[in-house]
């Protein structure tokens, strides 16, 4: 997550679930933890048993709220306003943990005089290009140090050139680039000028103060619908439970990531936690709750367009046409990310083996280049427009699980071929038979030319392999059974596919086939006719001279003598042992449980744990003792692996011109950051501004109370006929809807709607509405309702509940409709898919859509067949949305009114 990556240097959760039990206060926001992560929630209950206060801030009163000490209802999508209010409360009452802030954050850094804040530009930062919607971050830079080194002088020159040239050639480069900070902060040019007194008017601390000054409790009430009393209760609980003696933790999940300002929501929490001194300390931190088994793993070893394993960015056609150019952005900067060259070279070695030599840049040229955004939603648009014709769906069901289901299905219907690998016959494989567009007549089976291969998949017990769970822990699964009949693992499928393609191309002298033919692709099969997955893990771990497994990424070399499939996972196969398979029972170890599974990086459980000690290396307090400097031994010690150079003294000051890890100071806990500090202000690395700022969701019933700028100016807009957007403040779509999941189901439902024991627990899609909305619209508890957006209309059953609060925003009411999203046309229990309602406008950092939108709701079932299309069309007409035009361009200011 770039929110965390840009703030601290790594995108993973900063702590581990068990450590939540050490917290004195836990703020759960953007997460319905008890419902979505029930077993993880045991540690929250544990903390509560020990006396911690648990606060749940959420639009709905959920099963998490039921256990919390305090539930604060909030208007969906306004979290930055609330958290910004908390930051303002901390700063204006001097409640920050000043020693921590001064030593471990960039509060003291002085920012370029060219920087202009949203205060100055009414909702925009300096550097915004309204034509492209992109920011040029050059004016956000740290002021250079007083006595720059030669290197730094060179960079200053570069930057001046950049400034004069404008940002043109940088724009495309930004496509989700921030995701590359999953393990390695953005490379600022220097540690920069600091004013340790925090008084300089352009130092981060003062900028922060000014930026959040208008986020008052009264403003929070106007924006979020939270009363000042409730706001102060939360502020009081958090601040009184932070400091030397006490720590507070924040848990979030897709309630934050699924917004057009998702990364910035997380950034706000990162700023708050840094100010309160809660990062790197037991019972503190930010617990990023990933949704599914290996979401963390699939970003660490990504199947994402913009990064390679270990968050190494995919090369971009504009800047990276050689190995040197590719690693040049980061190489040599302070911190461990400055060592990117050995990581990148070792990856190329593991891809192309002997073919990768120093002479040919280790086959750098074999890597395809990006030119912009190639993310999922953009690709779906390309499918509709006929620019992408072959599609692999591997355990994913976008026809139900992705935003704007219609777009997804129109894309699927326009392919040449589609491979679906799943355990059950999911909607994405049957859209041509019985999809909603077949019902409405928008598509006809005969007309759909997509050739479909449904290949049955092996289940989790029928293959061996590792998942990386929410606290960055790799855990190995052994194989229990052979997969039945034609079922196979994905490992088998891709090994086999690679073998066949390579065999068919064998002998080709076509230059474009070289990367395939030179690929190191020799995977042995085990007894069950599946590829040996431990060998793949070993390749990921990396090997050195003599084909020995490596133990740590510090062993990686840039000369081609080492190969490593994912540098941050280096060590998972140390000593030729599958460390992810370690299963020492918890009763045989302490709470850190270092001998269960393996955690990246280097088996560290709490990241940045250097910050658990004061600048002198002593614990901040006995109660919160974790890692400390042992002067006799000359090393850092404690129950966890130090997230620091193990023998670097607390007072160490790096030599001038030191590079990489050598440049890390003795009190720089954030070792992946170029300056070793937690970033209150992000001079680089976040596409939509250095400081989180409240913008309304792309669809909102109200205008932005804080600035003239209504929506995130940097958000990515997907212009497509099937993706119309409801206008702001529309009378036709007066209500907010927010989507979510239920304990009893799993994402798009393929793994839950098909099981009797889960289906019976939540057998039908429903909406949750407040009694007030039910009265207003005549909705009957248990009856049917039709929910409409400009995209589509769906029917669901109605639950009227006091758990859904009508929110008061100043002089008006806002009603929210809750919609779980697990259903589709197939399975034991069926129903309309909620994702058909969701629009696609994306966060510019990670290209994720906003789960919140506006809607209308009416009693009764929806029209059927072609009548549905005209029903929605009528809504669009009334809302003033032109039929075939892509609506909503921010440049037109009418909608701001």
């Amino acid at each position: 997550m770039p929110g965390l990556g840009a703030s601290f240097g790594r995108g993973g959760a900063t702590t581990y679930l068990q450590d939540l039990s050490n917290a004195d206060c836990i703020l759960i926001q953007g997460s319905n933890m008890a419902e979505a992560h029930p077993v993880g929630f045991q540690w929250v209950v544990e903390a509560q048993r020990r006396g911690a206060t648990v606060i749940h801030v959420d639009p709905r009163f959920t099963r998490t709220s039921a256990l919390a000490d305090l539930h604060v209802p909030i208007r969906a999508g306004t979290d930055i306003a609330f958290l910004g209010g908390l930051i303002n409360h901390v700063l204006s009452n001097d409640l920050d943990f000043r020693e921590y802030v001064a030593a471990y954050t960039n509060a003291a850094n002085v920012i370029s005089p060219h920087f202009q804040d949203t205060e100055d530009l009414d909702g925009l930062f300096s550097g915004f290009d309204p034509d492209t919607g992109h920011y040029d971050p050059v004016s956000w830079h740290y002021e250079p140090p007083e006595n720059p080194t030669e290197d730094e002088k060179a960079r200053m020159k570069e930057m001046e050139e950049d400034e004069s040239e404008g940002s043109k050639d940088k724009q495309s480069h930004q496509a989700a680039h921030s995701e590359a900070h999953g393990s390695g902060g953005a490379p600022v040019s220097w540690k920069g000028l600091r004013d340790e007194t925090l008084q300089h008017p352009n130092c981060v601390y003062q900028i922060l103060k000014r930026h959040y000054r208008r986020y008052t409790p009264e403003m929070v009430e106007r924006v979020c619908g939270i009363t000042p009393q409730q706001f102060l209760q939360v502020a009081e609980a958090l601040t009184s439970n932070s400091g030397r003696e006490r720590t507070s933790a924040i848990c979030y999940a897709v309630g934050w990531t699924h917004h057009s300002v998702g990364a910035q929501m997380i950034r706000t929490a990162a700023i708050l936690q840094s100010l309160l001194g809660n990062i790197g300390r037991p019972g503190g931190g930010i617990m990023a709750l990933r949704g599914h088994a290996s979401i963390q793993g699939s970003t660490d070893i990504p199947t994402l367009f913009n990064i390679l394993p270990g968050y190494i960015p995919m090369p971009h056609a504009d800047q990276h046409q050689s190995l040197d150019e590719w690693v040049g952005d980061d190489e040599g900067k302070a911190g461990f990310w400055g060592n990117i060259r050995p990581y990148a070279v070792s990856l190329l070695k593991s891809y192309w083996g002997d073919a990768a030599t120093p002479e040919n840049d280790f086959c750098f040229d074999y890597l395809p280049r990006l030119t912009g955004d190639h993310s999922s939603y953009t690709t779906v648009k390309a499918m509709i427009e006929g620019r992408c014709k072959g599609y692999f769906l591997v355990g994913e069901n976008p026809a139900v699980g992705s935003a704007n289901g219609k777009m997804q299905r129109l894309g699927l219907a326009n392919l040449d071929w589609l491979v679906v690998r799943d355990m059950q016959m999911i909607e994405s494989a049957t859209f041509w038979q019985d999809g909603p567009e077949i019902e409405t007549g928008e598509l006809a089976t005969d007309d759909i030319g997509t050739e479909i291969f449904f290949l049955p998949a092996a289940s989790h017990i029928e293959k061996a392999g590792s998942f990386t769970q929410t606290q960055r822990m790799l855990q190995w699964r052994d194989q229990a059974l052979r997969p039945p009949a034609d079922c196979r693992s994905e490992l088998w499928f891709y090994v086999e596919l690679g073998n066949r393609i390579r065999a068919k191309l064998a002998g080709s002298d076509d230059e474009r086939d070289r990367p395939l033919l030179d690929l190191a692709w020799d995977y042995p099969y085990d007894d069950s006719a599946e590829p040996d997955s431990e060998q793949v893990l070993r390749e990921i771990n990396g090997t050195g001279p003599g084909d020995k497994a490596l133990s740590a990424y510090t062993e990686l070399k840039a000369d081609g003598s080492t190969a490593c499939g994912c540098w941050i996972y280096c060590g998972v196969y140390a000593d030729e042992v599958n460390q992810a398979r370690r299963r020492t029972p918890h009763w045989e170890q302490d709470q850190v449980a270092a001998e269960w599974g393996w955690v990246w990086p280097a088996n560290r459980r709490i990241l940045y744990n250097r910050a658990s000690a004061d600048p002198e290396g002593k614990p901040w307090s006995e109660r919160k003792r974790y890692l400390w400097w042992d002067p006799d031994e000359g090393k850092w010690t404690g129950p966890d692996v130090p997230d620091f150079v193990p023998d670097r003294e607390p007072g160490h000051v790096p030599e001038s011109g030191a590079k990489g890890p050598d440049a890390i100071g003795g009190s720089d806990p954030f070792v992946m950051q170029t300056d070793g500090k937690a970033w209150l202000f992000a001079p680089l690395g976040v596409a939509d501004g250095p400081l989180p700022t409240h913008y309304e969701p792309p669809e909102s019933p109200v205008s932005n109370a804080l600035y003239a700028q209504q929506k995130n100016p940097g958000r990515r807009i997907l212009e497509q006929a099937a993706n119309p957007i409801n206008p702001t403040g529309s009378e036709v779509f007066p209500f907010v809807f927010t989507s979510y999941r239920l304990t009893e189901h799993h994402t798009a439902g393929g793994m839950s709607r098909t099981l009797p024991y889960l289906s019976e627990l939540q057998p039908e899609p429903f909406c949750e509405v407040s009694p007030r909305l039910a009265r207003e619209r005549g909705l009957e508890h248990g009856g049917w309702a039709t929910v409409v957006t400009a995209r589509s209309a769906i029917e669901v059953r109605v639950l009227v509940s006091d758990r859904i609060r009508s929110l008061r925003l100043g002089d008006r009411w806002v009603e929210q409709v809750g919609l779980p999203y697990h259903w589709g046309g197939n399975g034991l229990t069926t129903g309309d898919s909620q994702n058909d309602l969701v629009n696609i406008q994306m966060d510019p950092n990670v290209y994720i859509q906003d789960k919140v939108g506006t809607c209308d709701i009416r009693p009764g079932r929806r029209p059927r067949g072609p009548a549905l299309t005209s029903y929605v069309e009528e809504y669009r007409r009334r809302a003033g949305i032109a039929a075939q035009e892509a609506p909503d361009t921010e440049a037109t200011s009418e909608e701001e009114n």
């Binding site: 679930l17 077993v39 993880g40 990933r290 949704g291 599914h292 088994a293 290996s294 963390q296 699939s298 970003t299 070893i301 199947t303 994402l304 367009f305 394993p309 504009d318 046409q321 891809y351 280049r369 030119t371 190639h374 390309a382 620019r387 014709k389 072959g390 591997v394 994913e396 799943d422 355990m423 494989a429 041509w432 759909i448 997509t450 291969f453 290949l455 989790h460 392999g465 998942f467 990386t468 929410t470 606290q471 052994d478 229990a480 196979r488 994905e490 891709y494 596919l497 068919k504 990367p515 692709w521 990921i540 994912c566 299963r583 009763w587 304990t743 793994m751 099981l755 024991y757 290209y847």
Partner: protein, 188 residues
Amino acid sequence: MALTSRIGDWSLLRQLRGRDSLGRGEAARSERSRTLRPRTVGADRVVDSICPYCAVGCAQKVYVKDERVVQIEGSPASPISRGRLCPKGSASKQLVTSPTRVTRVRYRRPHGSEWEDLDLDTAMDMIADRVIRTRREFWEWESEGRRTRRTLGIASLGGATLDNEENYLMKKLYTAMGAISIENQARI
């Protein structure tokens, strides 16, 4: 004799002879109840696994007998989950043994109106051909004068139940193909 032994087992006699004079406990216990054992005891092997649903990563024990799963439950040894499972994790056995699970390749030809059978080997071969064809068709050496060496004609979307090893090989193979529109649920 079967009859005499049946009479000898007659609970009523045990009731009259033993301490359980009201026939509510020991006397009423059947032979089956006396010798009952959990089915996990008879398992041929117990295999360590991890729950495939959410990201908490609860440890599971999989009990296998006669090459069938007889039980999946939480492994108490895990420091994260301590043996506990949510309803989804608890339903894992049903996930694996679901009667609606599809275990054979299904094929839909272009413009077809029905699923057809297809041999796995043939399917793999056909897919490899499709990849090669589409890759050629949509190959791009350059874009606006910049070397790109890629194809935008092939895309992939993976779920979050993919193993690290699987993700690794997917990205490796796709990258060698030049396919870059490779995405994952991590972004959805």
